[in-house]
């Protein structure tokens, strides 16, 4: 187990390096010249060729590609992403830090909804397979995979916020502002996990240990909750854990729809404003988040399931 963790952590470093390299290439491919941008930011009235050359030398832009990458990597590790192009008085880190809390509230609220709804529904649909409830839920799962989240969000907005006036329409000032968006984000994940838990339960219900437990005279409810559900949840927990970064990145559409000032809205606004440092930092942040969550939940799964440990 210890050996596995060390191996897994070591394997993460090249991936992180690869992603940082991709992000560095990204900022190098953009059509604008960083030296020119820097001059514009310091409000130099006339940009001459000599001035440009001097700034390039100052910024180290005349150095070889690899040297620049290492320099950039050093800055990035210290969380220094430079300044925003469109709003030079603000640092990129500050912009990200300002938007992150709203996105985190939204994502964690959706995560709670996903766990609270998908596990009981998946459990019940498996136990009462082919009942009316199960068929309705299967229809629901099928429909949500075909519905775009922005349309679901629009319908929710119209029905709950405008028609029933239960929730505020948009903004991010109170917790009730987050409920509709969180449910919109959660909906597609809920249907994925309902299906996963249901299929896992059905697979497990056919196993020998269930028969053995029945022979031992255990009550059905006991077998289902203590044995079958426990075994079925194992792979689901990992899947849900790995989808946390997906939840965080999946808030883009909903944030734009419900006007929540989070990371996704910042990202889209930056794309429209060609604010490349912000986009780069966002992409890097998401990539690192994905890799780290994969790492952590791989190890958790390994720790939770002795069968996997034996195989490695």
């Amino acid at each position: 187990m210890k050996y596995y963790i060390i191996k897994r952590v070591m394997a993460t470093f090249p991936l992180l390096l690869g992603i940082s390299f991709l992000c560095f290439i990204f900022i190098n491919l953009i059509p604008s010249d960083p030296a020119e941008v820097a001059l514009r930011l310091s409000q130099v009235p006339i940009v001459t060729d000599e001035l440009l050359a001097q700034v390039r030398a100052d910024m180290g832009l005349d150095k070889p590609f690899l040297m620049r990458y290492l320099h950039w990597l050093g800055d990035t590790v210290r969380l220094d992403f430079g300044h925003s192009y469109t709003n030079p008085s603000r640092t990129v880190l500050g912009e990200l830090a300002r938007s992150l809390p709203n996105t985190l509230i939204l994502a964690s609220l959706s995560l709670v909804l996903v766990i609270a709804l998908s596990i009981p529904i998946g459990f019940l649909s498996a136990v009462y397979k082919d009942s009316l409830f199960d068929r309705i839920m299967r229809g629901f799962v099928f429909m949500t995979t075909a519905m775009p989240s922005y349309w679901i969000g629009l319908i929710f907005m119209w029905f709950f916020a405008i028609k029933l006036r239960l929730f505020p329409i948009s903004g991010n000032t109170s917790l009730s502002h987050f409920l509709l968006p969180a449910f919109t984000v959660a909906l597609s994940y809920i249907s994925i996990y309902i299906r996963l838990i249901r299929n896992n339960m059905l697979l497990n219900m056919g196993q020998d240990y269930v028969l053995y437990a029945q022979v031992r005279g255990l009550k059905d409810g006991m077998i289902l909750t203590r044995h079958v559900l426990k075994n079925s949840l194992q792979s689901c927990i990992t899947a849900i854990g790995m989808s946390i970064p997906q939840l965080i990145s999946g808030t883009i559409v909903v944030e734009n729809l419900f006007a929540i000032n989070g990371l996704g809205r910042l990202c889209i606004a930056s794309i429209f404003n060609r604010d490349y440092p912000v986009i780069q930092a966002y992409v890097l942040f998401m990539g690192v988040l994905f890799i780290l969550f994969n790492l952590v939940f791989d190890i958790i799964q390994m720790a939770a399931d002795p069968r996997l440990r034996k195989e490695s």
Binding site: M147, Y150, N256
Partner: protein
């Protein structure tokens, strides 16, 4: 397999829906009752009339006509993106799987990096880099998605190159191009079609989402995601605007998903259906 596929009424229904959408898209100028760009500010947000069967939008344009013309960007651009993805994935996958060696190593390492990155973020990064345009959205889709196909195709190719009929063909002197096109391609085809059908739904969703965010198809062009974006602005006063494009998207994507599921069932009858 094909016979079994056509026995299922559901799959035929899906196929018919998709065909109808396609035909409506191709013959859009002849079917649409009005010009999708013609504005009529005196007659905006009108309800269902004979002249405008689905009413008019905030500029008085005929919703039905825009819906029909919208099939072109929505469906056809998604199909174009899929075609690009499959072609690139097919070439890369076959190169890696058939020739092995260093070609395989290089391609598969690239695939590994591509797959470790979240696809939605990657699409946004590519669009940000290339600029906001529907052409770039399609390029981004191809760029992000090909790696999945390359890996799947490589596995299948490796699986079949060891089979006796391929070895026999090689031993009687067939060249690589002949073996690839006549022996290996047909083996991959059925699996590829299923995957591609399921993914078309995903691509339609994706492209329309980007259009909804304003990154894809731009304003006056009728596209369902862009239409919903316009409907969003009037959701408080005229919520009816979001019904038609939304329902159209759901029907089309559901048809593709259902068709893909049916084809998978037809291909693999052993699979227990639960």
């Amino acid at each position: 397999m094909i016979k079994q596929f056509f026995q299922s009424r559901l799959s035929i229904a899906c196929l018919v829906i998709i065909l109808l959408f396609t035909l409506a898209g191709i013959f859009a100028p002849y079917i649409a009752p009005n010009d999708p760009y013609e504005t009529d500010l005196m007659n905006k947000f009108s309800s269902y009339t004979r002249e405008h069967p689905l009413g008019t939008d905030q500029l008085g344009r005929c919703v039905l006509s825009r819906l029909i013309h919208g099939i072109r960007p929505t469906l056809f651009l998604s199909l174009l993106a899929m075609a690009g993805t499959i072609t690139l994935g097919l070439v890369m996958g076959i190169l890696a799987g058939y020739f092995r060696g260093w070609v395989d190593e290089v391609i598969m390492r690239v695939v590994d990096v591509m797959l470790s990155f979240p696809s939605q973020i990657m699409i946004l990064a590519v669009v940000a880099l290339l600029g906001i345009d529907i052409r770039n959205v399609i390029l981004a889709n191809i760029f992000v998605k090909w790696a999945w196909y390359a890996r799947m195709i490589r596995t299948t190719v490796i699986q079949y190159t060891g089979k006796n009929f391929v070895l026999f063909s090689k031993s009687i002197g067939s060249g690589s191009p002949y073996i690839l096109t006549r022996h290996l391609l047909p083996c991959i085809a059925s699996e590829l079609v299923v995957l591609a059908t399921l993914d078309t739904g995903w691509t339609i969703l994706n492209i329309s989402t980007l259009s909804f965010l304003g990154l894809g198809v731009q304003a006056p062009t009728p596209e369902w995601g862009a239409m919903l974006n316009e409907a969003k602005n009037v959701v408080t006063s005229n919520p009816g605007q979001m019904v038609a494009p939304g329902v159209a998207i759901v029907i089309l994507i559901a048809a593709f998903n259902m068709l893909g599921d049916c084809m998978r069932d037809a291909m693999d009858p052993r699979e227990v259906r639960n």
